[in-house]
Amino acid sequence: MGFLEFKKVYKVYPAGVKALDNVNLSIEKGEFVFLWGATGAGKTTLMKLITREELPTSGEVWLERCKISSLEDRYLPILRRNLGVVFQDLKLVPHWTVFENLISPLLVLGVKKRDAHRLAEGILDLVHLQDKKHHKTEWLSGGEKQKLCLGRALIHRPHLVLADEPTGNLDGATALGLVGTLFEFSERSGATVIIATHSEKLVNRFPGRLVVLDKGKIIQS
């Protein structure tokens, strides 16, 4: 069994929209994967099944031999603490500072303040936000918010990083830099990274596995 496994997964939303149609997918530990497809192909739904923001209509999702599709709600915090997620809509708290948003996964993990500060300094350097450390998040530009979200996803060194359209509103160079950071992180830490994107340019610039989704079906894996 792979590190992450989808077995005959279907997802139909209440309005009858079929988001995923018999998805079978296996991803190994340390893989760098692009989940490519047009808008509405089912990329975000697939990601949400991993974070357990959504449940499959039928089928199974396994992560590290744990069937997360039937995980009891009380175990969700344990699952989520082991994920690093760059959300499509960022999920940053606008009135918190950059630093406060950045260390939120560490607070949840109960990391000591001194260690949290040290880890935050390293990540701020990595995502080039050192000079914005004490700025309110709502004052940041779109690109800076994306970087902050990336930093927050990596700060606790997760084994699995999910990035849902992380380059959505970014210019080419910034987008490449951001995905480059994810690629380096995967190389260095051995983490599995899954990037959902509709950008062909990005997919072609980085070595990695390509999984193509179309209308909820995997047509290339």
């Binding site: 344990i78 997620v85 999920k91 996964p105 949840v108």
Partner: protein, 289 residues
């Protein structure tokens, strides 16, 4: 280690002020009730000494029987104090009451029977105690204040019941206010809660700052109400003691302990319970979604 209460360090001031004020006002009203209740208890104590059951023996009763009955009465559960009034004391009381001399009576023998004067432990238990005494065969007659006493007791009971209900209503009202305030506070922080959930925060981690907020609001409201009440009652009792010196007013010092304990315990408990209920209801709502 970072505390989870730090997780929500940007709490809205308006919600904190609302929570504080609601508990403060409720606690002030509660303190007023406590004052009234204690004053009533004080008056009850005064009534207790006035309302005494008199149980008369037959004239020919022997001193041994009287002693025996006295001990039996003392052992009854509702009894406070028991005093034996022998025939001689009964006669001298009669003479003194009507301002007469013994010769005025012109009696060879003392016709006044001995009696027991019995006080109840609590004034409202007087009629029940009188019924108990009537069951003792050795008594010829049992008297207590009758209609007047019953009327006063009815008033006393009504006051306690109404006060108890008022207290309950105030508690529920206060709980509703605190719950509503904390609920609003939680709803205003939906974004933070969603982010914490996605970061893998536990229920306890997310609840902790709201529970902390509830308890702190309760505690600060309660302590403020305690101080304000004490100052108010100090001046009120000064005024009442000067204006109505013959009435039995409670001592200001006697208020400190009950008001302090109730203010601090009740308000922090209210804050805690309100926050807990608010967290539960929000969690239930989000689970339904």
């Amino acid at each position: 280690m970072p505390k989870s209460k730090e997780a929500f360090h940007h709490r809205g001031t308006s919600y904190i002020v609302m929570g504080f004020l609601s508990i403060f006002i409720t606690q002030l009203l509660l303190n007023l009730f406590i004052f009234g209740y204690l004053e009533l208890e004080q008056m009850g104590g005064v009534w207790q000494s006035s309302f005494t059951i008199r149980a008369f023996f037959p004239e020919e009763v022997s001193p041994e029987v009287v002693e025996d009955v006295k001990e039996r009465v003392k052992a009854l559960p509702l009894v406070g104090e028991v005093k034996l009034v022998d025939s001689e004391e009964a006669k001298s009381r009669f003479l003194s009451y009507f301002n007469l001399q013994e010769e005025d009576l012109g009696l060879e023998e003392n016709p006044f029977p001995p009696s027991l004067e019995v006080q109840a432990q609590r004034v409202e238990e007087l009629p029940f105690l009188a019924q108990e005494l009537e069951k003792i065969e050795e008594f010829e007659e049992v008297f207590y204040g009758g209609e007047n006493t019953d009327a006063l007791l009815r008033f006393y009971r009504f006051f306690l019941t109404a006060g108890g209900l008022l207290l309950l209503a105030l508690f529920v009202f206060s709980l509703l206010v605190v719950t509503t305030v904390i609920r609003a506070s939680i709803q205003a922080r939906e974004t933070e809660i969603e982010v914490w959930n996605l970061m893998g925060a536990t229920k306890r981690f997310i609840r902790a700052p709201f529970i902390y907020q509830g308890v702190m609001e309760g505690l600060s409201g309660g302590v403020t109400a305690f101080v304000v009440s004490l100052v108010f009652f100090h001046f009120l009792l000064d005024f009442l003691n000067t204006s109505f010196p013959l009435f039995f007013w409670i001592n200001w010092e006697e208020l400190i302990l009950p008001l302090g304990v109730v203010s601090i315990l009740m308000s922090s408990f209210l804050g805690f319970l309100g926050a807990l209920l608010a967290c539960n209801s929000i969690e239930e709502e989000s689970a339904k979604k």
